[in-house]
Symmetry: C2
Subunit: 152 residues, 2 copies
């Protein structure tokens, strides 16, 4: 699995699985600086997006819609950032990058969830790779809240 990715902020994995499709696995990211941040990882090992095949792109498009629509129902973010960077893998002397997307909801206004306050301090600007973990129990509730609105 991945090294410590700047947005994922975890060594050895991308977090808890939310759901999966024939080609991708969707995780709730360990770092929740931006509430609802997820990772969409290609199931097979591949270095560049140019390796992604037609059916994988079609499947990815469906996942994008499922995630954006689910978050819309749970927290109504203002917009969504998507990125496939893979930078951190190249800090290693033997880079072994994997294709994984960062899905980062962004919020103009603050959001309360389970008595935790989430303020997007970088709204209007690029997301910052700063780790923010939340208590395990709240992470579990967040996972359930999103899954509930994923249309399978």
């Amino acid at each position: 699995m991945a090294e410590i990715c700047e947005y994922c902020q975890i060594a050895g994995g991308y977090g808890d699985i939310l759901f999966e499709t024939p080609y991708w696995i969707i995780y709730l990211a360990p770092s929740q600086r931006y509430l609802g941040t997820c990772v969409v990882a290609l199931k097979r090992h591949s270095k560049d997006l140019s390796d992604v095949k037609k059916n994988e792109w079609i499947d990815f498009g469906i996942i994008v819609t499922k995630l954006e629509h689910a978050l819309e129902k749970v927290f109504k973010p203002t917009l969504y950032n998507w990125s496939c960077f893979k930078n951190s893998a190249f800090r290693s002397s033997k880079p072994n990058p994997e294709i994984h997307w960062h899905f980062i909801p962004r919020y103009k206004d603050e959001v309360d969830f389970e008595n935790l306050r989430f303020i997007d301090q970088d709204f209007g600007y690029i997301p910052q790779p700063i780790k923010k973990e939340i208590p395990h129990k709240i992470q579990e509730k967040l996972k359930k809240a999103i899954i509930k609105h994923i249309i399978i």
Copy 2:
């Protein structure tokens, strides 16, 4: 067209057109902090990636391959960053975001092009939205060098 996008760094457009497809237009970005940076913009106005249709995703996948393979032949970057952020549009009181992707080649080693030296000072980390314009004549040569290797 877009406001001043953080990566595009231009008001009123995304740069010079490299090529277009039925659904997307591909520009050479005005800011070349990362040599070969391009913008891939959806031709129709749309706010979220969840609006992108199946045929547009398939077409986008083909563009990804064309751009990565062309850059590979011209400058051999170490990796490629892709992102669809749209943050800057939300600094406006009346946000009117458009779907556009940033294609940002990243380089472990320095590259010389037309006697200009390009050093990726942020290699291994997220790309920084810092403007770097190059002389118009060199921008034109860069455009031609990339187009030459785009397989239509």
